[in-house]
């Protein structure tokens, strides 16, 4: 067991190293002189030289790489050109907004997806089931930014019952539309996933045994079907959270939600490469952590998985 955990952690380190290395290479490929970007568009050549030295850009590539890795290990993700502050604190400052959105999105996914999935598995082929299928297909196909814009337009402008984007200190009416947009696609996915899993489980031997033993449908579902299906959901949920936390770029852009995704997109257009790369690294960290947490908790949930 501990061996497994250690192996997962080692995997985590390896993957993050790979991510950091690739990030460095990409950042290195940026055309233009970072020192110039950092110094501002009107800085004198003398000022640029000083900054060049400060940023360590006059040293050989390998040294820069080693330096970069060392700094990353110490959670120093560089210095933002535009904001003139260190990257990681800038990211952490915006992170709570993204976290709130991520949690909201997950909440929507579950609230909408689970009941729909369960219901359509219980009544396969019914009108309800077919309506669900239609909903899932459309929700999965709709471009999230389009959906968000339509909802924004509908509820923010036409019937002004919700604010037009923004954060509003995290008040719920601001969170509603972005979380809804974010979660709808996922809800559709969970609905299908749950439906498929449940249908399989309901056909399996031990469920049929339970029926033979005389349990009611509800008991069968509650005691056997759902718990098993849920393990699948839980692992996916963990991944989702990781991904959402990594910065939901599109939703944040449409709703002007001040999270790390929007910050990174803005940073890209101002060529603030350290901030972009820092966000990528941070996001990867979250995703990988979520992965590992899910894997480890999976071993607690499902003993069959423990040794592999």
């Amino acid at each position: 067991m501990t061996v497994y955990i250690i192996r997962r952690l080692a995997w985590m380190v390896l993957v993050l190293f790979g991510v950091a290395a690739i990030t460095f290479v990409i950042a290195f490929l940026v055309p233009g002189d970072p020192a110039r970007l950092y110094a501002g568009t009107n800085a004198s050549p003398a000022a640029i030289k000083i900054i060049h030295h400060q940023l360590g850009l006059d040293r050989p590539l390998w040294t820069q790489f080693g330096d970069y890795m060392w700094r990353v290990l110490h959670l120093d993700f560089g210095f933002s050109y535009r904001y003139q502050t260190p990257v990681l604190p800038a990211i952490l400052q915006r992170f709570p907004a993204t976290a709130e959105l991520a949690l909201g999105g997950v909440f929507v996914e579950l609230i909408i997806g689970l009941p729909i999935g369960i219901l359509s598995a219980i009544r396969p082929g019914s009108f309800w089931d077919r309506a669900t299928m239609v909903f899932t297909f459309v929700a999965l196909a709709a471009p999230p930014f389009w959906l968000g814009l339509l909802l924004l337009f509908l509820f923010g402008v036409l019937l002004p019952v919700l604010p037009i984007g923004g954060y509003g200190g995290g008040a719920p009416q601001f969170l509603l539309l972005p979380a809804l947009t974010l979660g709808l696609g996922g809800a559709a996915y969970y609905a299908r996933l749950l439906r498929a899993s449940l249908l399989d489980i309901l056909k399996s031997d031990y469920v049929r045994t339970a029926w033979a033993k005389g349990l009611t449908e509800r008991q069968v579902i509650q005691k056997h079907a759902i718990p098993n299906a849920l393990t699948v959901i839980v692992s996916q949920l963990g991944m989702d959270l990781g991904y959402f936390l990594a910065g939901v770029v599109v939703i944040e852009s449409v709703f002007a939600w001040p999270g790390i995704g929007k910050q990174a997109v803005d940073a890209i257009f101002t060529l603030d490469i350290p901030l972009v790369m820092g966000t990528v690294l941070f996001g990867a960290l979250l995703i990988v952590t979520a992965n590992v947490v899910v894997d480890i908790s999976y071993t607690f949930l499902d003993p069959r998985v423990r040794y592999s």
Binding site: A43, P45, A47, I164, G166, F174, A256, P258, I268
Partner: protein, 569 residues
């Protein structure tokens, strides 16, 4: 001054011209000013800095203006200078090289300390110090101060031209006289800051500003909110507002939607009303009379680098001058502009009205002549004109549209343009590098409404010689024309001066063709009904001290039933 990156992002100007009230319809100034209240405004992006030595964009300047002061400021909403921290206008020596300022007594920083002449010397030297890495360290504007060059090169540790005579007298010595120097002093780079605040904040002074201004920075949550509060110890006329809140991360488009829902007072005042919202508001009877307009002293143009093929052929550059449909550009800007075939802006001294020496039609075109010139230059079906990149800054939604129109114009004469839209930083970088860009779409906004500002930084030989961040993006240099500009700069006879500048303009527009001048813009803004005293300031665009508010505060809860004019479109 600053190269403008889009029609929507207005930048500031410093000037000595009186802009008449034409076109600057004031908002409702009815009623008596009321003290108290909070004004809610917004910015799209977080401010880069509030360090006056570094800030060089409209957002920063807007807030800086509220929290700092300098020696001089503008009178009301004109471009006439008046003393601010200075007790009176300076005494200028007859040779124009020495300015002596006496300071007002009792001006205090918000930390309680009284301002002295030493503070000005400190602030200015810090502003010019290469270590501060601000934009003025490369010499524009302050380069003629005695000892500045040595200071830039590190040969001196202070600027000898800044002389503290006594605690309340400071003297500035210039190597050569400069008619616009007072305007330069009035720019935010001349604001005074206390050295102990810089020492205390370390490298974070940009976020912890301390000044003498009518407001102080109370809170700055990066990426979210900036709060200014009234400074009770302000030496000048106290503002009416108690507080000014600026929400960050609100695009102008969303901002103006909120404005119509009574959720905000003024939307990012340094950016003109975005196209869609302008169309909406102009059609809305409750709002259309509240829209303020103010002609900008700016010029938008295509720059062609004569050092790069095929623009080394003068006939080509000339042909380009007959091709652009300038009226369409203005249509894309919703009519908020005027065709400009010259290099000076309307409302600038020496501007020649209806200047059209090339005989262009109302659209600014003569397609047949363009085609003829291209043929003369040797381009035809068998030898087609090579495709060119049109480099432009993507700074607003309009940018792509404007560029697309230009692309279409050149198709008419058989030229293919590939659109290369860049982030503003990258755009400045690549156009400022010598001979890296052959064709670009540029805007230039006044530092001060004087022809010299539209020549020295962007069309002079000196400006063509820089290795980076050049303002002369055409890298144009005509020695003979340059001599005219030099002559004009020091000329104290203003009529003669203006004539020399007009001659310069003629050379550019009818002989050398480094540019295709296109248009000058009109700034627009609108405020919520409860806002009074708001006008577009020709330099600052937004002055918090003139504003007062009445009625209930806007809330972000939508469609609050407020007593003010409901804005349902």
């Amino acid at each position: 001054m600053k190269r403008l990156h889009n029609a929507a992002m207005a930048v500031l100007g410093v000037g000595a011209i009186v802009l008449s009230a034409c076109g600057n319809a004031a908002t409702t100034t009815e009623g008596q000013p009321v003290s108290g209240g909070t004004l809610l405004t917004s910015f799209k992006d977080d401010l880069k800095t509030l360090d006056p030595a570094i800030g060089y964009d409209t957002d920063s300047w807007l807030i800086e203006r509220a929290i700092y002061n300098g020696l001089l400021d503008y009178k009301g909403f004109t471009t006439q200078l008046q003393p601010d921290i200075a007790a009176a206008m300076p005494v200028v020596s007859p040779d124009g090289k020495t300015y002596t300022f006496k300071l007002r007594q009792g001006v205090k920083f918000s930390n309680g300390r009284t301002v002295t002449a030493d503070d000005f010397k400190y602030s200015w030297e810090r502003m010019l110090d290469p270590k501060t890495a601000g934009p003025m360290t490369s010499g524009p504007f302050w380069g003629s101060v005695h000892g500045a060059q040595d200071f830039f090169n590190g040969a001196a540790t202070s600027v000898s031209g800044f002389k503290v005579i006594d605690a309340s007298t400071i003297e500035i010595d210039l190597d050569t006289p400069n008619q616009s120097f007072l305007n330069i002093i009035a720019m935010p780079f001349g604001f005074v800051i206390p050295k102990e605040a810089v020492a205390a904040a370390g490298s974070d002074y940009a976020h912890k500003p301390v000044g003498t201004g009518p407001f102080v920075l109370d809170k700055w949550t990066p990426g979210q909110l900036i709060v200014l509060k009234k400074n009770p110890n302000y030496f000048g006329t106290k503002p009416y507002l108690d507080e000014l809140d600026a929400q960050i991360g609100v695009t102008p488009e969303v901002g103006y939607l909120r404005l119509q829902n009574n959720q905000i007072d003024i939307v990012q005042p340094d950016v003109t009303i975005p196209s869609a919202q302008y169309i909406q508001l102009s059609a809305n009877p409750s709002w259309k009379n509240r829209i303020l307009k103010s002609p900008n002293v700016d010029i938008w143009y295509l720059a062609m680098n004569a050092n790069m093929k095929p623009f080394d052929n003068k006939l080509v550059r000339q042909a380009f001058n007959y091709t652009v449909n300038k009226a369409n550009q203005i249509k894309i800007l919703n009519g908020r502009g005027v065709v400009n075939n010259g290099i000076q802006a309307p409302a600038m001294p020496g501007y020649v009205p209806n200047y059209n020496p090339l005989g262009l039609d109302a659209n600014g075109q003569n397609i047949q002549k363009a085609k003829d010139l291209l043929k003369q230059a040797g381009y035809d079906a068998s030898h087609p004109f090579p495709a060119q990149d049109l480099v432009y800054a993507k700074a607003s939604a309009d940018s792509d549209r404007l560029a697309a129109s230009i692309q279409q114009d050149f198709q008419q004469v058989g030229i293919t343009l590939n659109l290369k839209g860049l982030a503003f930083n990258a755009f400045l970088d690549i156009t400022g590098k010598p001979n890296a860009t052959a064709l670009s779409y540029n805007g230039w906004f006044q530092d001060f409404p004087d022809p010299s500002d539209f020549i020295d930084p962007i069309l002079s030989c000196a400006a063509a010689n820089v290795t980076a961040n050049g303002g002369n993006v055409a890298f144009f240099c005509d020695q003979a024309a340059d001599k005219l500009a030099d002559q004009a700069r020091g000329d104290t006879n203003s009529a003669e001066r203006l004539k020399l500048y007009q001659q310069f303009q003629d050379i550019i527009v009818t002989q050398d063709f480094p540019w295709v001048p296109m248009y000058s813009t009109v700034q627009t803004a609108v405020a919520a009904p409860r806002v009074h005293g708001f006008q577009i300031h020709p330099v600052w665009l937004f002055v918090a001290t003139s504003i007062w508010v009445t009625g209930g505060a806007p809330s972000l809860a939508p469609a609050s039933a407020s007593a003010s004019a409901s804005a349902s479109p």
